[in-house]
């Protein structure tokens, strides 16, 4: 997996490693806010996703969070490890805790997302 600095981020705290097959997950900040993740529901391989539309669900003890697709495209793989062991999202959100891979239908969409520095600023601002 590439480094967090190389990913792009959404305002809803998903990360995406852009590429022909892009991988998607949630940021370390997001897993921290959620607390212990107890359940993950992923999209199906082959499912068509739309940018900013809910495509997965992550549940903590008290809350359920929708995960929004950072870009439009088709799901090419899902991480079965996290459905079996949701704690991976807390332990390794940017690496072993990836959620799914997708083939973006409009690669330009990814370029509009925040880079690492912008996301850091965004999180800091949101805290105030």
């Amino acid at each position: 997996m590439p480094k967090p600095e190389e990913a792009r981020y959404t305002k809803t705290h998903e990360w995406i490693h852009l590429g022909a097959e892009a991988s998607v997950g949630i940021s370390d900040h997001a897993q921290h806010e959620m607390g212990d993740v107890v359940f993950v529901e992923l999209p199906k391989v082959g499912q068509k996703l739309e940018k900013e539309k809910p495509c997965a669900v992550v549940e903590s003890v008290k809350s359920a969070f929708d995960i929004y697709s950072p870009v439009s495209g088709e799901v090419t793989a899902i991480n079965d490890a996290v459905t079996g062991e949701p704690a991976l999202l807390n332990q390794s959100p940017l690496d072993n805790g990836w959620l799914f891979k997708m083939k973006p239908s409009n690669p330009a969409e990814g370029e509009t997302l925040m880079n690492w520095a912008a996301y850091q600023d965004f999180v800091k601002q949101a805290a105030h």
Binding site: F39, E59, V61, P86
Partner: protein, 482 residues
């Protein structure tokens, strides 16, 4: 009473002894049963085999692990945990009520029908509204019924309205109900005092708005002072004003919601009308409404015809049934018994004393637990841990657990959502000044103990049958039965 050392937390199935029995059914007619073998179950259900005494001891033991209104002050905000009069229980247990089959012929049900008729009339009067259904089984179920009424009402008028407006301070059931009904929920940000901003409201209502759902008093415990302007705005938009009646205890006998301009509201009998909560039900609810909504009410309702009470099945405009049969009649009998014990003036006294009690607690705690609202509250107050506690990393949850160690049930916590670290206290009118004084002392003791030794409070409770439980494991690997 409860002490961890005496806790025998085996499940009933772990006490089972094959061949042991509690009850028998010796009806000789059972020999006549002739159910063919291919329709029979292959293996018996895995249920415990116990003597009657085993069962009694098992469940009596379990009962002693609970806090309850009868044993502990239970100031759960929004839940109105008032005293549940014993008389209500005795009345509901009368064979004439308890043994009546729901499909009994009207001539056999005259007593219950008369009770429902009289209860309906009294509740309409208290609410200042015209018509009622007692069919819903609970508050959320009433909301569902209310929105169905709205839908039928607008359909009948030939209007398409698909939005429900809900303030962000609302009970979570409001948006859930709207969504379940296929409405779009429009959330409005409340003013910092929890009240609705009329100008903001006007921006969000229009020809698509079906209903504004409003809790009065709101979930911060204060009255919606601009209610008239709100009602006017809603009606000018052609929409309906729904009042969530969860907090009706603050108004009963003192304010008629109908006078405020609302079109319909719900009641929770297990809150305002003293029926027991039973560990989470059964409750019962009602929708009380104006004349223009009456034709859409669920059926049957009860009417009086020539000195007899009859089930009225209305006409095609009715939304139909929201529950099999008549509703939770057993709960209605209790509520009616409660009503008999109150005159017009005494109903008002419920509101008065519930409001005094909440303000009394808020006043005595204001140094350590500041009120969210800067004004007097109605029947409940919303507090937060003070800055000194927050500075030590102590949270509302810690206060809740510390109270358990001191023999008090915790208030409602982390609600309303618009208040950070909310502690929502609803003492109800049936608690005496002495009890409130003891509660205040416990709250102060929790504060002092927390400041002196934060970790100890974070580890609380220490004296309950169990310590803090692993909810993460419970949710990750659900173990839901033996």
């Amino acid at each position: 009473m409860t002490c961890a050392a005496t806790l025998d937390n085996r499940l009933s199935i772990e006490k089972s002894d094959p061949g042991r029995r509690g009850l028998w059914c010796k009806n000789p007619l059972r020999a006549k049963a002739n159910v063919p073998a291919n329709l029979r179950r292959k293996s018996p259900p895995r249920l415990p085999e116990l003597s009657e005494f085993d069962v009694i001891r098992h469940f009596t033991r379990l009962s002693r692990l609970n806090f309850s209104v009868d044993t502990h002050f239970y100031p759960l905000g929004s839940c109105t945990m008032k005293y549940n009069p014993r008389f209500n229980e005795e009345a509901a247990a009368l064979e004439g009520f308890a043994a009546l089959h729901p499909l009994a012929h009207d001539t056999c049900a005259q007593g219950t029908l008369e009770l429902i008729h009289d209860l309906s009339a009294r509740l309409c009067e208290l609410c200042g509204l015209d018509a009622i259904t007692l069919q819903p089984a609970a508050g959320a179920h009433s909301e569902f019924t209310g929105l169905l009424l709205a839908k039928a009402y607008f359909e009948n008028k030939g209007e398409t309205r698909n939005e429900i407006v809900v303030p962000d301070s609302a009970h979570g059931t409001n948006p859930a109900t709207a969504s379940m009904m296929g409405f779009n929920t429009v959330n409005i940000t409340s003013k910092p005092d929890g009240r609705l901003d009329v100008e903001e409201l006007k921006k969000h209502i229009g020809p698509k708005t079906a209903v504004l759902m409003l809790t009065v008093p709101n979930t911060v415990g204060i009255f919606e002072t601009n209610i008239e302007a709100i009602a006017k705005a809603v009606h000018e938009a052609g929409a309906l004003l729904y009042m969530d009646g969860a907090n009706f205890n603050a108004l009963i006998g003192m304010v008629k919601p109908g006078d405020l301009g609302i079109d319909m509201m719900h009641l929770n009998f297990h809150k305002t009308f003293s029926t027991p909560h039973g560990g989470g039900g059964p409750g019962a609810g009602a929708i009380v409404c104006r004349k223009h909504l009456a034709p859409f009410l669920p059926v049957p309702t009860v009417k009086k015809e020539g000195g007899k009470f009859v089930s009225d099945f209305g006409d095609a405009r009715s939304i139909g049934k929201v529950k099999a049969f008549f509703g939770n009649t057993g709960v209605l009998v209790r509520a009616y018994a409660y009503m008999l014990a109150h005159s017009a003036k005494e109903f008002g006294e419920i509101a008065v004393c519930s409001i005094i009690n909440a303000n009394y607690v808020a006043a005595l705690l204001k140094e350590m637990y500041p009120s969210y609202s800067k004004e007097y509250c109605m029947h409940e107050c919303v507090l937060t841990p003070g800055p000194d506690m927050l500075a030590k990393g102590l949270k509302t949850l810690d206060v809740a657990k510390g109270l358990l160690d001191r023999g008090f049930h915790a208030p409602t916590i982390y609600f309303p959502l618009i208040v950070h670290e909310a502690i929502m206290i609803e003492p109800t009118e049936t608690e005496s000044k002495d009890t409130l004084d003891e509660f205040v002392a416990a709250m102060k003791s929790v504060h002092d103990a927390g400041i002196a030794d934060p970790q100890s409070l974070k580890d609380a409770p220490h004296t309950m049958p169990v310590k803090r439980l692993d909810e993460v494991q419970a949710a990750r690997q659900p173990n839901l039965h033996w």
